[in-house]
Amino acid sequence: MAYIARRFGVSLFIIYVVITISFFLIRLMPGNAVDFLYFQLLASHTVSPQQALQQVQSLYGVNMKEPLLLQYVQYIWNMIHGSLGNSILYPGTSVLHILMNALPWTILIVSTSLIISFFIGISIGTLIAYFRKSKFAVLVSTIMTVLSAIPNYIVAIILLYLLADIHHIFPTGGAYSPEVAPGWNIPFLFSVARHAALPVIVFIITQVGGWSLGMKSSVVSALGEEYITSAHSHGIGSRRIIQSYVGRNAILPLVTSLGLSIGFMVGGSVFIETLFNYPGIGFFLITAVNGRDYPLMMGAFIIVTSAVVLANFLTDLINQRLDPRTMQK
């Protein structure tokens, strides 16, 4: 319990650091977004200084005329309460509203592809470790090595080009077709699956190589352990040895790297969602960057980072469940 509480505390602290970084970026950097907007509004001569201040406050949630420390406290207070300001690109919409509609789609594609690629990867990895002397395993190893080297946005562009633009097999744009009614009905779920298919395939293709090679080396070193030799000499069937003796021990180091992998995939989702026009957090991050919508951009940054930090916390818990040794720390 103490371990869980401590890890949770660390996660909250990291989120606090992230919010501090965003405050620094929008408020303290030379030519920062808040000053810029204020002087832009003044220069336009359409508003009074008082109105300009109010507009700045409604977008960024800070009052420029107060002392910096107070602004900082106010900013953190706002972020904790989910008031991330208002969007510039989508006038009249709160940043939180946009991002809360976007977050489920990012979670959907990242978690689906993480689970699928993890299980395909550990299966392939176990097989090529067991039959590592055969030509076929060497070939599969080589293919996995090459796959692990290809940047995800390149796979995305190739699929976009071949399957969406030329052959029109998969739709791009949106998370579901406008014709279907959102809800738990078959046409809607089918449409969601069809729209998520390309991003998920991209992640699987680019992630599976890393998982299978990691599993391969993990299994190979587990096979050399003495308890495996001992199990063999006790006449335990090789199927059972692979599953309960090798498998369980070999997976542990991979579970540890799940957290890192989630961070990397969420980062990659920025490219993939943008290329496929898939309305997740990454898509809105880039839309905000291109439209200079700083409140939306910082909101997307804070939400996406917090999601990754919490996901890391969850993988820590899973890891601890699987490996009682980590509890002692």
Partner: protein, 284 residues
């Protein structure tokens, strides 16, 4: 010189490491002296757009009738410069912080490693995107520094672990007894021992920086002065609409093949080095 002899010994035995090494050397040559041999014209001639491969244009022409091969060669220089600088930054920071934490111990060690943990957990790409958007500088040094902002954390943890285990070894103690300065012990005794580790991380860092950098240009986030592979992809997808015509396959795929081939080279070479430095990974 013994390092090079050692390298040659590895390469001769391992064909895929040799292939990876060859690819990396080829790209280094292309980026350093390649631009002397090619000329990217400034003249835009839409009538000559998307020509197929020919002897005059081995990889065809782009949306403005320019030679694609020349653009690929010319674009390799900025990509590699930023990646090498970024990886150098993160390796130097990672080694310094790791060594300091390992030798300092106590509270200082704790604080440095908590900071490293934070940077390991925060997803790097969103952070890099946000910083690049605010800084808006086309200087390769600035871009490299931003990309390196999170890259050092992993290395600093492993260097610290190595330093902790090395500090207890006999030869370091012997050096201390002989009255050598801390600086001398660090540079002469410890660095050679973590050298292989640092070299691997340097190569992986370059590979990661290329991924981030090309991606930033591809999305049109990082400002650019000269064309590079990421800018070419950005134009192919957004500006020139090459992705919607099948004639433009050559122009769209050339930078992608250039990037993938280089990344494959890095992976093949670093995996071979990894097997060399971690004998446990060698197939039993």
């Amino acid at each position: 010189m013994s390092g090079f002899r050692e390298l040659w010994r590895i390469l001769r035995r391992n064909p895929s490491a040799m292939l990876g090494f060859g690819i990396i050397v080829f790209y280094l040559l292309m980026a350093s002296i390649g631009p002397l041999f090619v000329h990217v014209s400034n003249i835009e001639n839409p009538l000559a757009a998307y020509e197929p491969a020919s002897w005059a244009h081995l990889l065809g022409t782009d949306y403005a009738g320019r030679d694609t091969l020349a653009e690929i060669v010319d674009g390799s220089t900025p990509v590699l410069i930023v990646a090498v600088i970024a990886s150098t930054f993160s390796v130097v920071i990672g080694v310094i912080i790791g060594l300091v934490a390992g030798f300092l111990g106590g509270v200082g060690d704790n604080i440095l490693m908590r900071i490293a943990d934070i940077f390991l957990t925060i997803p790097s790409l969103p952070l890099v995107i946000v910083i690049v958007t605010f800084i808006q500088s086309s200087s390769p040094f600035v871009l490299a520094a931003v990309i390196a902002v999170t890259g050092w954390a992993g290395l600093s943890r492993s260097v610290r672990a190595q330093a902790l285990s090395l500090a207890k070894r006999d030869f370091v103690e012997a050096a201390q007894v002989q009255g050598l300065s801390l600086y001398n012990i660090l540079i002469r005794q410890l660095l050679p021992n973590i050298g292989s580790y640092v070299a691997m991380n340097f190569l992986l860092g370059i590979s990661g920086a290329i991924y981030a950098e090309v991606g930033l240009f591809l999305l049109g986030i990082a400002p650019f002065t000269a064309s590079n592979w990421g800018v070419m992809l950005n134009f192919a997808i957004n500006q020139a609409g090459s992705i919607y015509t099948s004639q433009s396959m050559l122009y769209l795929f050339s930078p992608m093949v250039a990037i993938v081939l280089l990344q494959v080279g890095f992976v093949l070479f670093t995996r071979a080095l990894d097997q060399l430095f971690n004998p446990r990974l060698r197939t039993q």
